[in-house]
């Protein structure tokens, strides 16, 4: 399956969904005016990936900032990943945040409460 790679901009994160190299990562900021247009292709890609996923998938979120509209779309992505998990696939999420950034840590904890799949919080300095 083809990778989906979107370079970061001032208002959208870098997206790497690359089964060939087994890298799945969202990083940077997310505050697009139109979240549906930006995240639509990501959700579609994940639907297609669920047809024949890798034997193990680790999805990393390494975001420094996202607005409330993006927070809803991140939840939509996590719910989609939860579906793969429910189907029996080996899939997990890593939520990376800067140690000092208590709000980003809290956001990770809230997502961990909202979705029922392995979601690990990892801090960095």
């Amino acid at each position: 399956m083809d990778a989906l790679i979107i370079e970061a901009t001032d208002e959208t994160p870098k997206v790497v969904l690359d089964p060939g190299n087994n890298i799945f990562e969202f990083s940077g900021k997310s505050l697009p005016e139109d979240v549906t247009t930006f995240y639509g292709p990501v959700l579609d890609w994940l639907d297609a990936y669920s047809e024949s996923p890798n034997s193990k998938t680790v999805v990393k979120f390494n975001l420094v900032y996202f607005n409330t509209a993006s927070s809803k779309l991140i939840l939509d992505i996590l719910f989609k990943l939860e579906e793969f998990y429910d189907e029996g696939h080996d899939i997990s999420v890593e939520w990376h945040y800067q140690e000092e950034d208590e709000d980003m840590e809290e956001a990770g904890e809230e997502y961990a409460d909202l979705v029922e799949m392995p979601l690990e919080l990892k801090s960095y300095e």
């Binding site: 005016e33 607005n67 000092e100 809230e110």
Partner: protein, 190 residues
């Protein structure tokens, strides 16, 4: 000619008084006009740079940035025309960031149709009444129920501002005419 030069000197005085007042009140940024995504990006980038040089800790800096984005996107998406009361896209309004000894204020003002006042006031009053745990629970409930609107919002802005800052939102509606009022909201981040 004389009138002109008088008007000119009055204007120069006005510029000086704006400058003086901004310095006196520690206003970092003030803007009146159209708020679109480019304006949002420009101001948030500028403020981010100013904040990086300040001594505030990381969560405060990020909260100021966060509140700014939510407030600017609110004006851009929800400001109504003062004469017609109809939605203006992109919206216009006033936007201010100021510094106090302990923290930062983000202040916005924009016209809204009088018919929307009750709904906006209720949304803010609901979250203003909640304590930390209540607001966390409410946020989780609302993010699950939320659908992205035609305007691209998730309806979580006020909740998130109160949740992140831990402070109540001050707000006021100043009647413009029978159709619209000027909605002012002030958030404190410390």
């Amino acid at each position: 000619m004389k009138e002109n030069s008088f008007a000119n000197s009055e204007f120069m005085d006005f510029v000086y008084s704006v400058h003086e007042n901004m310095v006196k009140n520690d206003i970092m940024l003030i803007y009146e006009g159209e708020v679109n995504q480019d304006i949002t990006k420009t101001f948030t980038t500028l403020t981010q740079k100013n904040l990086e040089e300040s001594e505030a800790n990381l969560p405060i800096k990020k909260r100021v940035y966060h509140v700014m984005v939510e407030c600017l996107q609110n004006i851009g998406k929800h400001s109504d025309n003062a004469e017609s009361g109809l939605p203006e896209i992109p919206g216009t309004g006033i936007f201010m960031v100021s510094k106090s000894t302990e923290g930062y204020y983000v202040i916005t003002g924009n016209p809204v149709a009088n018919s929307r006042i009750d709904e906006i006031a209720e949304m803010i009053e609901t979250v203003n009444k909640m304590d930390k745990d209540e607001i966390k629970a409410y946020y989780k409930k609302k993010i699950l129920e939320s659908r992205i609107s035609e305007k691209g919002g998730a309806g979580l802005g006020f909740i998130d501002i109160v949740k992140k800052t831990g402070n109540k939102i001050d707000f006021h509606f100043q009647k413009i005419n029978d159709i619209a009022s000027f909605f002012v909201m002030k958030t404190y981040i410390n």
